[in-house]
Symmetry: C2
Subunit: 241 residues, 2 copies
């Protein structure tokens, strides 16, 4: 019965590449630690992930929180043996990650343009306000969006607030993104629709979700070129429903 | 001729105490460095300010950026002699600053309530999205505001965007805050109004502004209890103008 009124796009790893730069940062982090400890098991990155997880509720998402967690993990893993010069190299890893180039995902500009010609489109992205604004500006995509929302967490209550501000109920909203946990599951939970476009790497903490595999309100695509057709399927279902 | 349609409030040091906690963090930072260098001149905090200033365009405002700048300044000031354990103490200073209690400015709740009874009120605050949201929630003031905007920089273009979203021109907007540079000057520049309520301490980087002392669209108050009367004066001027 309803019609799709708004289509949301995630930012990191949906519009532009992001996780690759975090992975590169992790490799650089390991190479600093290689001077102190044995890197032959997964212990280094496992410990970093554990520190990041416990710091999330104090630091939130983003590169600055990651950098502080790397410093803390390096101090813990080396039993306080790491030198100030090497800790400075970790600050530099953070600075380089913040300044990484913004590379668009293949075909995403045409996909957003095609969808924006028929629907109102909103960018909903999570992380450091300052870094996200910078990436949005450098992406050259800002003008395609009717609204931009930078949020600190992507959970059902955040999406509910955004949808209220957009003036649509969840049944009139489709979210497109690479993370089942952050982009898809909370929107489906509210009664909305999702299109999952996986990226080739996903941060471990984004892999935790409770979605069923046969979710009727979810479509999956392998690349941006398939987005308009997947959306047309959902529009047809939403209108028929 | 116009009427005042929206009244904006700054957050840090206008609604709740903030700078005191940053100052306490600086004292703790100095006490860590006291084990390495002579603190008898201002060199330590001057160098920190210099590092913060050059990092602002990469890290943005907020506690996490301050903490990374403190780590960098400590490494530079000690010629890389500082120990990992003492750098960990600096990470802990950052964590404690993020978790500081939210103490309201005297009389601010009554002032916001009185003003919200006659005008639409918006909270416009700058800094880390995650930390600001946390402070807003803990302040207990969120429900008094018709809108909340967390921004990465308070310059004329940011205010212009927010006012466009509020649907008012600058002549219909009054901003209340403790920082002439961030809260008052950019709003006056756009053609709006300001009420300056100084706080007893101001971060050095917030003291740089180009306002004339006899600005006709600016009122100053010494405490929150005076805000409603100062606003009435501006309303009378705006309506008569």
């Amino acid at each position: 019965m309803g019609a799709i009124r708004w289509v949301g796009f995630d930012g990191d790893d949906t519009l532009w590449k992001s996780e690759d730069y975090y992975r590169a940062a992790e490799r650089d982090f390991e190479s600093v630690l290689g001077g102190y400890i044995d890197l032959s098991d997964r212990r280094t990155l496992d410990h970093l992930l554990e520190v990041e997880r416990r710091n999330l509720k104090v630091f939130g998402y983003g590169v600055k929180g990651m950098t502080l967690s790397m410093i803390e993990a390096a101090i813990e893993l080396t039993g306080e043996r790491i030198s100030a010069a090497d800790l400075h190299r970790i600050v530099e890893i953070g600075r380089a990650t913040l300044a990484h180039p913004v590379e668009l995902i293949d075909g995403i500009r045409s996909a957003v343009e095609a969808i924006a010609a028929e629907h109102a489109v909103v960018l909903i992205t999570k992380g450091d306000l300052f870094h996200q604004e910078d990436k949005i500006a450098r992406s050259g995509l800002a003008d395609l969006f009717h609204r931009i929302e930078i949020v600190s967490e992507k959970d059902p209550s955040t999406y509910a607030r955004v949808l209220r501000e957009l003036g649509t109920d969840p049944d009139g909203f489709v979210m497109i993104g690479n993370s089942l946990r952050s982009d898809i599951a909370p929107v489906i939970e509210l009664g909305g629709w999702g299109i999952h476009m996986p990226y080739h790497v996903t941060w471990a903490l984004e892999n935790e979700h409770g979605l069923a595999g046969d979710e009727a309100r979810l479509r999956a695509v392998v690349g941006a070129a398939e987005l308009p057709a997947a959306l047309r399927e959902i529009v047809a279902l939403a209108t028929a429903g």
